[in-house]
Symmetry: C2
Subunit: 148 residues, 2 copies
């Protein structure tokens, strides 16, 4: 682990928001299992578990000749990955609502599992509560539809 | 359409990259059908089609009491949506690799369909080819695994 670069965290301004999205770029990954669909899916599922997320659905696809796309839908939003094994690069999103999930645990797991020697992590606030509070008139959608 | 605010595009620095991610925040949406799973899924699928994307998988879930999460997996990466009907807000990602897709057509469709009176669109370059070129040693993953 000593040669694993520390994540370069760039946080957006601290804005009260409905959700937070961590944009994670992993470079110079170990690529032995980078094109192994089952392994990549397992890494992403474990990341969601380490974040204490509730998994709703898991969808992964392998492309020809190489490359994997996958989504872990969670009650709190989603995790997504796209891999470019030929460039030893993976683009990952960790998108959550609320403040209860441990996104940093998920991101640390992802960086370690892929052996990324260079990481960029950018946190983006999604759904500014300031804009919502200032601009939204009363909302009929507040009334949930009855269960079928 | 006259009262629909123009998208506020904020582009990241022009960086040659493997992919581009448009982070789309839609505020003050018309919410009549905002919690209609089939309708929201249709809007997202049409957005992918307007971008000229190749759809691989479509996964949508409705949460209790309100709110929808959905992903359209495309050969060129993915579109994702999370809705907060109670706040008339939707968080959408349009993530594509390559330069051939018409992401602006997809985003225009989404803004119009949801009747968003305020939009924020931020374009994020994913997978800097400058970093990849500078840092990556020869890569055994370039050799595709044989088909089963």
């Amino acid at each position: 682990m000593n040669n694993i670069a520390e994540a370069n965290y760039v946080a957006s301004a601290v804005v009260p928001a409905l959700g937070n999205q961590f944009i994670v770029d992993l470079y110079e990954c170990n690529c032995e299992r980078f094109d192994d669909l089952e392994w990549v899916e397992g890494v992403m599922v474990e990341a969601a578990q380490r974040a204490q997320a509730t998994i709703v659905d898991v969808v992964f696809h392998k492309f020809s000749p190489i490359g994997i796309s996958g989504i872990v839908v969670i009650s709190e939003s989603h995790l997504a990955i796209h891999t470019w094994p030929e460039y030893r690069y993976a683009a990952i999103d960790v998108f959550t609502c609320g403040e209860v999930l441990d996104c940093e645990a998920a991101i640390a797991h992802l960086g370690a599992a892929f052996g990324a020697r260079q990481r960029s992590v950018v946190k983006v606030a999604r759904g500014s509560t300031e804009i919502i509070t200032r601009r939204s008139p009363p909302n009929p959608c507040l009334v949930p539809t009855p269960a079928a």
